[in-house]
Symmetry: C2
DNA sequence: GGCTTTCTACCAAACGGTAGGCTGAGCGCA
DNA sequence: TGCGCTCAGCCTACCGTTTGGTAGAAAGCC
């Protein structure tokens, strides 16, 4: 469907409140009233955009989190996957991170789940690594997860395709920094050895 | 001036586009027409809000960056200062980071300076540390700066006063993770010794 | 094949509502 | 009397949404 792509782009450029259905209709070459043949409301449109990219991104990191292997290796893979997915879906991701707050409480929770799902994946992996002595024990897992999520999510604000860095480069460098930031000496040694 | 505080709060709650001058006037107990005695336009109001908090935050980290001492210690201090300032000025900071894109290109650049000023402070410190062998040489300074900025700026999205973590706690933990993430063995050793 | 009906994908116009911006009159206080 | 400030109200523009209608392709039926 082309509508959702156009809407994503317009929401990205003007923000949800700043974008009008007129803008979207113009870009599709139709009248704004005609949009209601496809949608129920403007809000539904935003919901669809956000919901899709969130579901996709979550699937990416969950798949990588559940692979067999040490928790530190899996965490690294999750970070890389998350960053690369962000870079390759820059526009929808930006809309998700920027306009989620434009949705009413209820629909927001419908997307995020009762607990913050992204954060949960990172935190679980960090806790597992901590239990094996691979991540510093004095570290608050939730804080560590938020730190990693921060540096990776921030990517949507500065990455530009064709810019100085490739998605792969950014993914692996951010993962490297994140892991070094939280691992124990043993965790790092075992990672280098494996 | 109370107007700017109220405007900050309203922009925070509803977003710039979603907020109306009516909302602001209501909260001040006056009619929206009366606002024009104080302001020239709605956009000017946003500009003032953003400009103020940006200038203040930049002053905080610049002061800490210019203190005498090793670059790694100064970087740590900058991170701590930045995070604590963010936590203590959560609402204006959120407006700054969230609504900067609502300003026209020109006024945006008037605030950020020709080069990204925050990023510049971090990058310069990282480059200094790199020159002294305290930060890994294979690390791209700009990427490292963006990683640190990401995890610290992200704080505005999850910190809540009276929540599980204090600003001091968050500042020192994020700084610790950031430094460990980029430093060389020698950098870490020298930091522990000093 | 020819005829009719249904469905798809829009169009045209208008609705009630609200937006930012502006004005000139008038208030209380020094 | 003068001045800082607020008032009530208007203007034009645009918003999301609804309604009623229609060209043309597709499908069903004989």
């Amino acid at each position: 469907m082309e509508l959702i792509d156009v809407a994503t782009q317009v929401f990205y450029e003007k923000g949800y409140d700043g974008a009008s259905l007129q803008d979207i209709a113009d870009r599709l070459g139709m009248l704004k009233g005609s949009l209601y043949y496809y949608i129920q409301s403007k809000e539904d449109l935003l919901f669809d955009v956000i919901s899709a990219v969130h579901k996709e991104g979550l699937a990416v990191i969950r798949a990588r989190a559940e692979v067999p292997g040490g928790p530190l290796e899996r965490l690294e893979s999750v970070i890389v996957g998350h960053v690369e997915h962000t870079c390759r879906n820059l526009v929808p991701t930006a809309v998700f991170l920027h306009e989620l707050s434009s949705l009413p409480e209820e629909r927001r929770r419908e997307i995020l789940g009762s607990e913050h799902s992204y954060q949960g994946v990172f935190r679980d992996l960090i806790e597992s690594a901590q239990a094996e002595g691979l991540v510093r024990a004095d570290l608050e897992p939730r804080l560590a997860a938020l730190s990693v999520l921060g540096s990776t999510n921030w990517v949507y604000r500065w990455f530009r395709p064709g810019g100085a860095f490739t998605p792969e480069q950014i993914g692996s460098e951010l993962a490297e920094m994140s892991i070094r930031g939280i691992a124990t000496a043993e965790g790092l040694a075992r990672r280098a050895a494996g």
